[in-house]
């Protein structure tokens, strides 16, 4: 199972309100028709963190091995999408993709 905090994009000490807000924002951005897997992951993450009790239970009882994507998301989170450089586009158009 993916780290629900990372799926929702909330801090480790997020409270009920912050978690609900992140969940609502997430499902608005990724409704099931747009990204069903992401939607499901958001639902599962919200269920795992919805209440203080659930968050403690997750901390205590989740023994699933971490996924590399969790390590990646945690250590080097996604930033704002950027426009690629003209050089990069030029290289691709020249067929250079080494």
């Amino acid at each position: 199972m993916r780290d629900p905090y990372l799926v929702l994009g909330v801090a480790d000490d997020a409270d009920d309100a912050q978690i609900e807000r992140a969940y609502r924002q997430g499902i608005k951005t990724y409704p099931p028709e747009r990204d069903p897997e992401r939607f499901q992951a958001l639902r599962a993450a919200y269920e795992a963190l919805r209440t203080r009790r659930a968050r403690l239970a997750h901390r205590l009882f989740d023994s699933s091995e971490p996924e590399p994507i969790d390590i990646l998301d945690r250590a080097a989170p996604l930033g704002t999408p950027q426009r690629p450089s003209a050089d990069l586009i030029a290289a691709l158009l020249r067929g250079e993709d080494g």
């Binding site: 971490p66 994507i69 390590i71 990646l72 945690r74 989170p77 704002t80 999408p81 426009r83």
Partner: protein, 839 residues
């Protein structure tokens, strides 16, 4: 000779080719072409062209050259690929240039042949179009001088400027500039695909589905396809993208990463993870987590390391050490043990490991529920105490015979009760205990928790439901009806409560019948009739009305009962219905059957038998009791039933129903009957045993006991874990040696479990000194000692707590003192069967 040379030899100039006829050679060459073995095809077609030059062999050779050229280009052997294309062109100067050859020339920067083709009016329009696209891509890739070499009226030249302006604006984030520049590129332009991609990318953030639609319009052979493919990667879900990244070229990946918002450090970390392989080894992840612990957060990284270790002990401990991480603490090791127990799915083990952790947490944190000081730690403790039941549903009433409670369930109840001291606000645990205790027949315990819940949540519907059920279980029917009405006032379509209310009125009516207060019974039946909706409830009301009528006016009542019996089919099912109804008002079944005209024994068919048994099951489901002698009455009715026509599953279900009804004689007979058909079937052995020994078998040499022990393995082999666990529990209850191993096991045959074979013997059996005994117990360790002693789990748990609080050595010393001073086997009293009673 190298392998490659050998292959060439075998393909090109082998003697067998010489020996082949022209036709056979042509067939072989065609087959090689069809299976994509272009090198062999080239060799065979060359030979064929020499033997019998023809258009077909030339055409075949050209196709083989083209195939090989594409193969080489895909491998990045561009110059070698070009040689193949040139070989192909040499076969026939009139052969049109292949678009892939054009693309290759472009990649190699050999533009002159392309420009020549473009200017040549003989060039097919489709090819010219492709060449224009390739040149357009080349111009936008930075070769701005190329546009100058093209005629100024050519769209390649004319549209180059706006296409370039759009690129600059896009890279600068100027969306308006992009739209304005693209507006100057007409639909029919060599830059059309470029324009489509940029338009698609402008909608990426707001409407990715539109982006996808627009990108889909660009064909795979487009000169801009690599750019389109990179853009498409920006639309993938993150995990899919990460997976795809593994097979992507560097530039395509970097472009997609930019569009997705991957900063440079994320890309480099991804590359580091990528180097760990498709499924990184757990050891490597432990190392990576240790290395990145500052970025990840110390606590997060450590927690993930523990989660890895939970699946990879004991070797994982070594990984932790070699990664430079600190050693596993006591609490961590206990948490790991609990997680590992969960992987094993043994309910006892799971409960014990979490209970151990709870004890340790309580000690470490110095918690005292009478002086709460650390709400989070207290809640953690409560959750830990509830975990085993939450995970394994150990108090599931559906799987527990009414009125029974296994030792494990008793243990679980204790832990749940304790959890409420730390977290009294948990309604779910209150409800769980109320339901379970009521089901186990411990109404006093159920009521204690019900009172606590009613104080905290007086208007909660679930609490009211439980209050109603508990009232029913205590025969407080009036109270139950009042509670049901309160629930229905706020939830009028609650069918469960409606049914329970009808049942409460019916039960109250029966009570009045038994007091000969027929008028009051009628009143209750009327009230039940007002709420009754289902056929079954109506049937119960009719039967009781009929019986009251017969008691008051036998002649008239007999008519009513006959009519009801007719409606019920006048068979076994009707007999059972009436017998059960009669049993609940303490009346003679013989008389009632006679009134209803059902006194004669019937030979039921399969359907009637199943319907009758279903009535019995529903009777139990409704929580109704049985009158005295009901088993013998039903046994008579069921005599001659076609049991052999029932399937194994149906017979299993009947045995379960009879177990719930506590009709052990009938259940035993049926189980033995089933064992004749399914020899040594564990489930029927269990039913036969339990029916024969309802209070346990105390004969250690009993053959039945041995058969049941052997059935555990049979059930396990068949993958029937549930039956094997049930047998184990039954054996636990029946074992004549509560403090020792079974007489059928060698008590010192412990090597399989890694025990010291004679450790207990060394400690207690050889008359050694207390020091020698202590040394032997130290070697054995606390857990193995407790296992070998065969203590029941609750004793083990208490002893563990004692050992923890006083230290293992002191504990062992105390044990030795106690054990050596006693007369009996280890001098310990046998644990008494415990039945909870709240004071």
């Amino acid at each position: 000779m190298t392998q490659k040379q050998k292959r060439r030899m075998s393909r090109g100039s082998s003697a067998d080719s010489d020996a082949l006829s022209t036709q056979a050679l042509a067939t072989r060459a065609r087959e090689a072409l069809e299976r994509g073995d272009f090198r062999s095809a080239i060799a065979d077609y060359k030979r064929l062209s020499k033997q019998d030059p023809s258009d077909a062999s030339r055409s075949g050779l050209a196709t083989a050259y083209a195939g090989r050229a594409r193969e080489l280009a895909a491998k990045g052997m561009l110059k070698e690929a070009l040689v193949m294309w040139e070989n192909r062109a040499a076969l026939d100067p009139e052969l049109p240039m292949d678009p892939d050859q054009c693309a290759l020339l472009m990649r190699l920067g050999r533009l002159d042949p392309l420009l020549e083709r473009l200017e040549n009016p003989q060039t097919p329009p489709a090819l010219a179009e492709r060449i224009r696209g390739l040149l357009a891509a080349r111009i936008l890739s930075g070769d701005w001088g190329l546009a100058e070499r093209i005629h100024s009226e050519d769209p390649l030249h004319r549209h180059a400027q706006p296409a370039r302006a759009a690129l600059d604006a896009y890279c600068a984030g100027d969306d308006t500039g992009v739209r304005e520049a693209l507006g100057r590129i007409p639909f029919r332009s060599p830059y059309r695909d470029w324009s489509l991609i940029l338009k698609a990318l402008l909608t990426l953030a707001e409407d990715p589905s539109d982006t996808r639609r627009q990108l889909d319009r660009i064909p795979d052979h487009s000169a801009f396809a690599p750019f389109r493919q990179a853009a498409e990667l920006a639309l993938l879900p993150e995990p899919v993208f990460m997976e795809r990244c593994r097979s992507l070229g560097r530039n395509r990946m970097r472009l997609a990463c930019s569009l997705r918002g991957w900063p440079a450090e994320r890309i480099s970390l991804w590359e580091e993870i990528h180097r760990l392989g498709e499924t990184p080894k757990p050891e490597a992840l432990v190392r990576l987590l240790q290395k990145l612990r500052k970025q990840l957060g110390e606590h997060w990284a450590r927690q993930r390391q523990m989660r890895i270790l939970a699946h990879h002990l004991p070797e994982g401990e070594r990984w932790l050490k070699s990664a430079g991480a600190s050693r596993i603490t006591l609490i961590e090791s206990m948490l790991l043990a609990a997680w590992r127990a969960e992987l094993g799915r043994d309910p006892w083990e799971i409960q014990e490991r979490w209970s151990d952790l709870a004890i340790q947490l309580k000690l470490d944190l110095g918690l005292d529920h009478q002086h709460p000081s650390n709400p989070e730690a207290e809640l953690i403790l409560a959750l830990v105490l509830r975990r085993a039941d939450q995970l394994m549903d150990l108090l599931a009433i559906e799987r527990t015979p009414a009125g029974e409670m296994s030792e494990l369930q008793e243990f679980v109840c204790q832990e749940l009760e304790q959890s409420l001291k730390w977290d009294p606000e948990d309604l779910g645990t209150h409800l769980r205990l109320i339901r379970f205790y009521r089901h186990a027949g411990l109404v006093k315990e159920a009521r204690w928790f019900l009172d606590a819940a009613s104080k905290r949540w007086p208007e909660d519907r679930q609490v009211l439901m439980e209050a109603m059920e508990t009232a029913l279980a205590s025969n407080a029917f009036k109270k139950a009806a009042g509670l049901a009405k309160r629930i229905l006032a706020v939830d009028p379509i609650n069918t469960d409560v409606r049914e329970r209310l009808v049942e409460a009125h019916l039960a109250h009516a029966r009570k009045q019948v038994m007091k000969s207060r027929f008028d009051l019974a009628d009143k209750e039946l009327k009230a039940a009739g007002e709420w009754a909706r289902g056929e079954q409830a109506r049937e119960q009301i009719d039967l009781l009305s009929g019986l009251i009528a017969a008691l008051e006016h036998p002649k008239m009542g007999a008519q009513v009962l006959s009519e009801i019996a007719r409606r019920l089919g006048s068979g076994l099912s009707a007999q059972i219905s009436l017998t059960l109804a009669v049993g609940m008002i303490g009346m003679s079944a013989k008389q009632a059957l006679s009134w209803a005209g059902l006194e004669r024994p019937v030979t039921p068919d399969r359907a009637d038998l199943l319907a009758g048994l279903d009535r019995l099951r529903r009777h139990l489901d409704a929580g109704r009791g049985f009158g005295y002698g009901m088993e013998s009455l039903l046994s008579k009715l069921l005599k001659g039933a076609p049991w052999k026509e029932l399937s194994r599953g149906e017979l299993e279900s009947v045995c379960e129903t009879l177990k719930r009804a506590r009709f052990d004689q009938l259940r035993g007979e049926l189980a033995r009957l089933a064992l004749k058909r399914w020899r040594k079937a564990p489930i029927f052995l269990l039913h036969a045993f339990e029916a024969k020994y309802p209070h346990g078998c105390w004969d250690p040499m009993s053959r039945d006991l041995l058969d049941l022990e052997l059935a555990i393995q049979t059930a396990r082999d068949a993958g029937d874990t549930r039956t094997s666990l049930r047998i184990q529990e039954t054996l636990e209850r029946s074992r004549p040696f509560p403090l020792g191993p079974s007489p059928f096991e060698d008590p010192f045959d412990l090597e399989d479990e890694g025990h010291h074979p004679h450790a207990l013997d060394l400690a207690f059996g050889s008359g050694g000194s207390p020091e020698e005994m202590l040394e032997a117990l130290r070697r054995l360790g606390l857990e193995k000692f407790l296992d070998l002693m065969g203590f029941p789990p609750h004793v083990k748990r208490d002893l563990r707590e004692v050992a923890r609080s006083m230290g293992e050595d002191a504990f062992f010393e105390g044990m030795i003192e106690d054990l050596t001073q006693s007369d009996g086997p280890f001098g310990l009293p046998a644990p008494k069967p415990r039945r909870k009673r709240r004071k």
